[in-house]
């Protein structure tokens, strides 16, 4: 029983060592993507607003047809 607990702890530690860097990397990627999107929207406000209006128009048209 004691050996099993030790094995479980080792496995949990290995899992943590394997997963935590991936989570950190994914978080960093999300932060980078968010910064890029925000800077693109700030650089092209008219284009983004018009695109959003067009996308909303299409969604509304599709929703009204159903």
């Amino acid at each position: 029983m004691d050996v099993n607990a030790q094995q479980m702890a080792d496995r949990a530690r290995q899992f943590q060592d394997r997963v935590v860097p991936q989570i950190d990397e994914a978080r960093q990627n999300l932060v980078d993507m968010n910064n890029r999107v925000v800077s693109f929207i700030r650089a092209n406000p008219g284009t983004c607003l018009l695109g959003a209006v067009a996308v909303g128009f299409l969604i509304g048209r599709i929703a009204s047809r159903r």
């Binding site: 925000v38 929207i41 607003l49 959003a52 209006v53 128009f57 509304g60």
Partner: protein, 151 residues
């Protein structure tokens, strides 16, 4: 052919012809200046509207919110306002908005239930009940076996 006032002379008086030409030119100049004034007024109105809405500043301050607002404007323009999808979105929004108010109640209920569970467990803790002499059921109770039916 357009008949402009002052543009047709009788051909007899050159001075009067010259005056009518001057009137026509003056009229054209006035039209041109009025058109220019109208154009500048329209441009000023558009600039005023832009400054009032301050779209660029709003996008600068809250980019995602403005995108969502533009999406909503397009959705309404596309005729999606009175649709089942709108009803579903509104229902979801109401539930999400009510969640913070219900959260405390749910936490209180969960805490009460947990306390009741703990109290129940501590009530059934192995505190030995007083054994009755010569009673089989009491012996069985102490032993942890089911109590036999008493007739």
């Amino acid at each position: 052919m357009a008949n402009y006032p002052g543009a047709s002379g009788d051909g007899n008086s050159p001075g009067r012809e010259r005056g009518s030409d001057a009137g026509f030119g003056q009229r054209v100049d006035q039209l041109g200046s009025e058109a220019q004034q109208l154009f500048s007024d329209a441009r000023g109105a558009v600039e005023d509207l832009g400054q009032t809405l301050d779209l660029r500043g709003r996008v600068e301050r809250n980019p995602y919110g403005m995108m969502v607002a533009a999406l909503g404007v397009g959705y309404v323009l596309g005729g999606g306002l009175f649709t089942p999808l709108t009803a579903r979105i509104l229902r979801l929004g109401v539930r999400l908005a009510a969640l913070p108010f219900v959260k405390d109640e749910l936490l209180g209920m969960a805490e009460t239930a947990f306390q009741g569970y703990q109290a129940g467990r501590s009530g059934f803790a192995p505190s030995p009940p007083p054994a009755r002499e010569g009673s089989a059921s009491a012996d069985a109770n102490v032993a942890g076996t089911p109590r036999p039916p008493s007739y």
